[in-house]
Symmetry: D2
Subunit: 283 residues, 4 copies
């Protein structure tokens, strides 16, 4: 694979040779390996019932991991902020039942120890991409980190943030493109699909794509997920909700379970077209 | 297919029902039909030799149309501005030999009559997207129009420009997403792949994707072309040059003939994965 | 004044020494000289009555020039497109009565001869900034040109367009910053006030600022006009309408005559604070 | 003053009547009152000598407050990260000698108690604008907060962050526009001067402007500072360094002491032109 130089200042995240690739292991799954993975789940853990119902649908569709927010960064202090530790417990229960590893966000250095006790992957959200004390703290954690790109972050700045984590000794960094802020009025953000090959040509780290936040419109999620896989993404992260119209956050961009199932079939086909498969789901 | 509402003010370009699709015929090819098409060729027609060599490679790779600029809009008046009518004659000669229909840009209302005498598809470049006298004039032409999206154009503004052409009676409008201007430092522009499903859900017009201008970096062209096809694009337009390092314009983003051939194979696979094929090439 | 290098490729528009300045003469007024000028008038010439009433208010407020569009570039073909030659005749009549020189837009190379017969300054709109055949044609005209910056244009691209005009022999180029497209939801565009000192430090050409299009909201026009003057703009161009709520275009951003009068007083004060005055109005 | 509605969801930061204004007191100074204030100092506290020399120059120029970073958010972990508590001690010493209140950044909730022990104003940087745990924590602090706008933040999102602080009971919020990310290649960011009148028309909170980060080029700092004051900014924050070429961060955009002195004179004139003065400096 071609090598693209971003910056001499990026040391640990830079690709050292054309075939240099890092594979991040999450439970039985490998992110950045031959096959792609799909992470699905609700924006927020809203209740035990909602999460368990979603987790079963995620497993049934053949996805590899479950996402769900217990600590939610919201534009206003009056919006639902997540269930906190209770949400983490519900996530752990869903893992126990379904076998799906858990991806969940952590917002503050002081919460890392707590979240790490439940999560399989620590998510750093777009708003916190350059929260350096938080990056350093998850860099010292035992769990892999999914690092979302900030809405105005250049590739160099994004890799610089990965560098903070790697520099603390945590080698399990998964990058996630989730849309950048441009002038679009139709989509919530502009999913920068080109970030996928740019990362693969400049860094050894795996990169997944989040078409739910990238598009912000349900009907655009599937085509953008497929675009990401065709461009080489190592995985897809999508929001799913059994009843999106009742969701406490991000309902307009959440797939319904049958839509997720349909999407998984399409992802398999496109992955196959670019010489990859989809990993086995949870057993 | 889902329907997405952009604006009540877009009358002729708006989709009237979920299955409403316009197929634009160009010679033996159908743009917007079941199968995708690939338009390839140099940024500029530089010489008879360069163009004929490229045209043969484009045909050999199985592409459906030949692109090449005879009138070039350049950032500075001192740059190569294209061969003008001589370039058009060379393009016509290439069509005669290869059978490939010609896509070429027209810059001014006063040139439309001339260019129409040679071209099969009249291209309106990104810089001229809102050149309304030019849009009206090509709206009165007998040839289909490929309308590139302006670098800062919203979807509504882009469809508004299609509306100018349709309103003059020309129903053969092909939209082309070629990247928007955002803050990227690595890519020349940001290819807005989401424009493809947004157009398909809001308009009946076909849409193709131009990953060469969108990315501006050769190694990113193939993954972005595949992303476009996976997202549903009706075609791909790419720049090819037998010796990119000698190109008078856009060398850094031009594929070499073997790379085009390889890309065609990949496009076939991804098109197949989303339930489409690639049309037959020129005979 | 400091010198800032934009590009070696910009030859004619580049400042050759710290004090290199071009002064463009328009009737009795000097654009780019010691004092600032104010160009005011409606977005579109809608009727003889509307334009004459506005022209008198513009003169009474002490402005130096009258703006008004006879050929209007509109997002959709169904919107009011301007009165054409009739609008030009009305503008000429207003000049005759008030003594105010006329600034008006030209959209196509084929219209330049006609518009030049009426206008004192030929305006190239933002959408046409890179309409090179049009730039070449106004470069061959006898009248000065006001060149608006395109919504996605870098400083280098903008100066490249000035270069096209200068290269044809027309030395009377006035640049106009009118807002760029960013992610703002409150303002119509983002007025890039920094373009004013950037142009002054890199080019000898005068630059004026258009806060009406830049902000798109009436209450923001005055503060942004003052910001432009404080940053060193050689002039301000504002939209005025006697009854904005009845305007056929841009009503929401048009000042009423008393607001224009008040703005002129404030501009005088800020111009004075940065060591300049406002030129005498029409006699 | 006109009232502009941003969102019904912004409760505490929204202007309730045309004259509703909050004045934030910092030592003897009032931010958001009749007169403007100037905050100056180095990007980073690099050494006792550098800071004391700068502080004396800041005082001599007649500025009202001293800025300087002890905890620095940097793109890469290998860059100078600030002196930490030692930097805070040096800042306190400078305050003792000069009487200038201190504005300094805090990066993590766990550092607020420490920083609050030294600072007069707690700065939240652009990268941390949406670091909600940090916002909540400074919302519970006894010191006023200077909240910088994020690079991709809409006005609503910015006010939403102010809302987090206000909602915890801290009424001393000063907003700071420091440039947004757009496509500019000449300036580091695009200073959105229009944010100043937008904030004044929609919120009661004071707003200052940071032309150093906004422009990123020394020669542009003064014109952009004046633009901000002309647009109604309640203050200006600028970077100053005795020897910018030796600065460990932001040297290219730092003023030298004589340039600061000259700028203060110009700010006085422009403030006067818009009916304001500059507050008395430290005694």
């Amino acid at each position: 694979m071609t090598t693209l130089k971003i910056s001499d200042r990026i040391r640990l995240a830079t690709k050292q040779s054309p075939d240099h690739r890092t594979v991040v292991e999450v439970g039985p799954h490998k992110v950045g390996g031959e096959d792609v993975i799909v992470i699905a789940g609700p924006c927020s853990v809203e209740s035990r019932g909602q999460l368990m119902e979603t987790a079963r649908a995620v497993k049934a569709a053949g996805c590899q991991m479950l996402r769900g927010g217990a600590f939610k960064p919201r534009t206003l202090p009056y919006s639902f902020q997540g269930l906190g530790e209770e949400g983490l417990e519900i996530l752990a229960e869903a893992r126990k039942e379904t076998g799906l590893p858990i991806v969940t966000e952590v917002l503050a250095p002081g919460d890392v120890e707590l979240v790490e006790g439940y999560a399989d992957v620590l998510q750093i959200g777009a708003r916190n991409m350059q929260n350096y004390p938080l990056l350093r703290r998850v860099g010292a954690a035992e769990k892999p980190v999914l690092l979302k790109r900030g809405m105005a972050a250049t590739i160099e700045e994004w890799l610089g943030c990965a560098e903070y984590i790697l520099n603390e000794g945590n080698t399990g960094v998964i990058l996630c493109e989730r849309g950048i802020r441009c002038f679009s009025r139709v989509t919530r953000n502009t999913l920068d699909v080109s970030a996928v090959p740019v990362i693969h040509q400049s860094s050894h780290l795996p990169v997944v794509i989040d078409p739910s936040h990238g598009a912000g419109v349900r009907s655009l999620v599937a085509p953008m997920a497929l675009a990401g896989v065709a461009a080489g993404a190592d995985g897809v992260m999508v929001e799913v909700h059994p009843r999106p119209e009742e969701a406490l956050s991000d309902g307009a961009q959440s797939l319904r379970p049958p839509e997720l199932e349909e999407l998984m079939k399409q992802i398999r086909k496109v992955a196959h077209a670019v010489g990859r498969g989809v990993q086995h789901g949870a057993r």
